[in-house]
Symmetry: C2
Subunit: 516 residues, 2 copies
């Protein structure tokens, strides 16, 4: 799953102009695939093997979790390398032609070091089969026992109370899903089942720390390693709740802004100067108050008009999502939702833009009291973007509005509005054959149709792959909504790990069988 | 001069009710003093001695500055004690009956230690003379050479460029003024001049760290050590500019508030929840924007109506102040004053209330970007109080208004408004005989009439003395507006130190001569 660090990976202090126009991914296939019929016999063999080898598969996850591959801390640099090697060994054993590839250097804790390499691999090269690209990451967030973990975070621990929860850093984000693919490959190998698709894979070791180097790698390998990819599957997000599998077909983008107000050239004492000067905080708070209403309505003229209208298909998909208001009340720890309508709530989180005021840099922010007039303050807010609110058209509206409102204040201070980061929204076709395959696989494995969700946050690497490779991407989560990626006591339920392995196998077989 | 720490010395999270009603100090004297005629012969002898003994007097200041009596750091606890002993020795030599008195214990850097003692002394007990109480402090702010000092901060250094500036921590705040009194006593002793008043003195060692223990000491000694005090003089503030002496007769008070908004029980990711919930920051920013206009106008209904009307005498005193807009533009480093009218600017700083928005606790405040929805935020603002805006009547208006405005938002979050600190404004009669005496002394020593100023900030200990002893207090500064108390390269001009000594002597003689 994405990190905040990664959300904000590309930063510019100038007004960014969207490099790529926002578009729905529409991929046309000119290559006729041989129709490979779906074989329930093949998958039932696989499923049987998976069920019978659960402890072996959990042991694989235990080995991976045991390697503290924290990408954001130089102290773990060898562990990150070790994790890449572990994957290469495992993949090679499973018949995958796998290798690590360097993606450049970066500054880590003040030292210039190699970026963690990407692990790439491929198995199968049959022109009659579809070629599926999978992505995952082998690095993890930091974790310390003393942060509040019940068990050592780098020792996979089966819940002694019998819930089946597998605790450990990386269990769900993203080692469990990555190994799910390896497990599926092993199941094919051990049961003598032919892989129904050509499989290409890329596992990065820098996801939790900004995915540096990955976009350049994708770009440079577009027509080499990535040549011939028909569609892509990423398993790095989660179910919306704890009981309903889902397929994810959209992500909101984000524009992060700073309103910078400056006045005096030094911080002043409010006793000495309060009542005599234009205080930057007064101007800033006034401007920030004009961005969004307490009902969550974005007050910037023109923004609402840009939002793509809701289609019938979308409406139906949102109405079908298994979701109760209790779910969000539990998740946020309080009954402070804008509405008690489930569909409006889901659309608010997933398909409508939102504007959040995050805080102020330069003002007093500590506990206690300080009678300062800050000389220069930066108000931070972001707008979650959706089709057709892009980086540029939204920014044009924001800058004009804030500057116009500032002029109305009649202040002698200076005001500047800066887009510090822009990430486009992403949406793909949820009726694509890859989604149909994932849908059927979910029904087979979990006995129920999946919800069709969008993520309210951004997963920038999805956008990079979509833009550069131009393929449909199905986000197919393994873990549940309460797995606690990035938190203490991160876990993956045994059932999700085991069923997730089957899901991937079923998905590949359905993918092969679906008419492109 | 006061510290921020001291401004906020009494903190309560409940809504404080003003303990003492706001009042002008009106002191009636029932005791007829013998009229002691002003003797220019006496003071000219004294002035001559002072001029001839400048290096001796500067040496005294050098000894004092050489003792790093930093009250806010346990590492200097012995130096603070040593500074008290130094004063006792000096005072005793000058014929003052001086002693240290304990004022309790406090926590310093995590250890419970004795508070620095107060040094009290008295000289003269003639019922026919007025009794003057003087206050000063012997502790200083921290200072390290590496903070940007040109010279060692604890070695008094005469500017080698010949400006006459005496650099050193405590030179102007407040060792120079304290020693000015000692110098004046020595001049009387050495010239065989009778002291025209009975003099009581209290020098504390905790001013820069909250004056803890002092209020209780004043209260407990009200009818003992402080019995018979007729008026008080404090030299612990500064001229408004660098060339015009002033007398200070008022201080603004301060009410410090927090608006606390809470919603969810944990911080949330704006990707996951933006657009679905009432965000506490949105409510807070909306409320904060309704407190003060960009033109500095307080928007809380009823506040303006409470302000005492400007009297003709006040108006004249403000109009007479030597002040140019350039002075404040230089002081703040920019032309962002609300007006270019000097009187309006001075009244804005000194006699009118002001409302400053200081910052927000709980929101994102660092450099960079973070897409957090803070679950609980505290907006901090303060109102500078003036007659007749007291702690309680102002707070009643603030709480009602903020709560009313919050109700209008239609938010499900919770809102609480809390007064975290209250300090009443203080004003005294600038036509009192003590001010008349200080006025004449200023004309004699500096060759010009003083400005009559008020401080925009608070000096809480002034209020304590005024309330408990019920006497007129003349704030009679020695240093200039650019002395840089609390800053690096704090200095006192030699002329201010030497003339300040004469000013105190002249003041005492004029005080004796003035009709009560």
């Amino acid at each position: 799953m994405f990190t905040l660090g990664r959300l904000i990976r590309s930063t510019s202090t100038s007004n960014i102009i969207a490099k790529r126009p926002l578009r729905l991914q529409r991929v046309s296939f000119v290559r006729p695939f041989t129709h490979i019929p779906y074989s329930s016999m093949a998958t039932s063999k696989i499923n049987k093997w998976v069920d019978e080898n659960q402890s072996h598969l959990i042991d694989r996850l235990a080995k991976a979790v045991g390697i503290p591959s924290v990408s954001g801390n130089i102290a773990y640099i060898k562990d990150v390398e070790r994790m890449a090697e572990f994957l290469i060994e495992q993949l090679t054993e499973l018949g995958v032609k796998a290798e690590t590839r360097p993606v450049g250097k970066h500054q880590l804790d003040g030292k210039e070091v190699d970026l963690p390499p990407v692990v790439i691999g491929h198995i199968g090269n049959d022109p009659n089969k579809k070629t599926l690209l999978i992505y995952g990451h082998y690095d993890v967030q930091p974790a310390l026992k003393e942060d509040g973990w019940k068990f050592d975070p780098f020792t996979l621990t089966v819940d002694p109370e019998g819930s089946g929860k597998l605790y450990g850093r990386g269990s769900t984000d993203d080692k469990g899903p990555v190994l799910g693919w390896l497990n599926a490959l092993e199941a094919h190998k051990e049961t003598g089942t032919e892989l129904p698709v050509n499989l290409k894979m890329i596992f990065e070791g820098m996801e939790e720390n900004g995915s540096d180097g990955l976009d350049k790698f994708i770009e440079s390998e577009k027509d080499k390693f990535f040549a011939g990819v028909d569609c892509m599957c990423i398993s790095d997000n989660y179910w919306l709740d704890t009981k309903t599998p889902c397929l994810t077909y959209g992500l909101r983008g984000i524009n992060y802004y700073e309103i910078r107000i400056s006045g005096p050239d030094r911080d002043l004492h409010s006793g000495a100067f309060g009542g005599a000067i234009h205080e930057p905080m007064t101007d800033l708070i006034s401007l920030m108050s004009k961005l969004v209403s307490p009902q969550g309505e974005i007050l910037i003229p023109g923004v609402k008009d840009l939002i793509a209208p809701v289609t019938k298909d979308e409406q139906e998909k949102f109405e079908a999502i298994h979701f109760e208001m209790k779910d969000i009340h539990d998740a946020i720890g309080g009954d402070v939702t804008l509405t008690n309508d489930t569909v409006k709530t889901l659309m608010g989180r997933m398909r409508n833009p939102s504007l959040s005021l995050h805080g102020i840099e330069g003002a007093f922010s500590a506990v206690g009291s300080k009678t300062v007039i800050p000389c220069s303050v930066k108000g931070k807010f972001s707008i979650r973007l959706v089709p057709n609110l892009g980086i540029k058209n939204t920014t044009d509206l924001v800058i004009k509005y804030v500057n116009d409102e500032f002029m109305k204040l009649g202040s002698k201070n200076k005001c500047q509005v800066v887009l510090t980061h822009g990430g486009e929204p992403w949406i793909t076709d949820p009726n694509h054959y890859s989604f149909r395959a994932a849908h059927k696989a979910t029904e087979t494995v979990w006995g129920q149709a999946p919800d069709y969700t969008r993520e309210g946050g951004s997963i920038p690497i999805t956008l990079e792959f979509a833009n550069i490779l131009g393929v449909n991407i199905c986000l197919l989560p393994v873990g549940r909504g309460d797995d606690g990626a990035h938190s203490t006591n991160e876990k993956l339920d045994t059932s999700n790990y085991i069923q997730g392995t089957k899901l991937f196998a079923e998905y590949m077989h359905n993918l092969a069988a679906e008419q492109a």
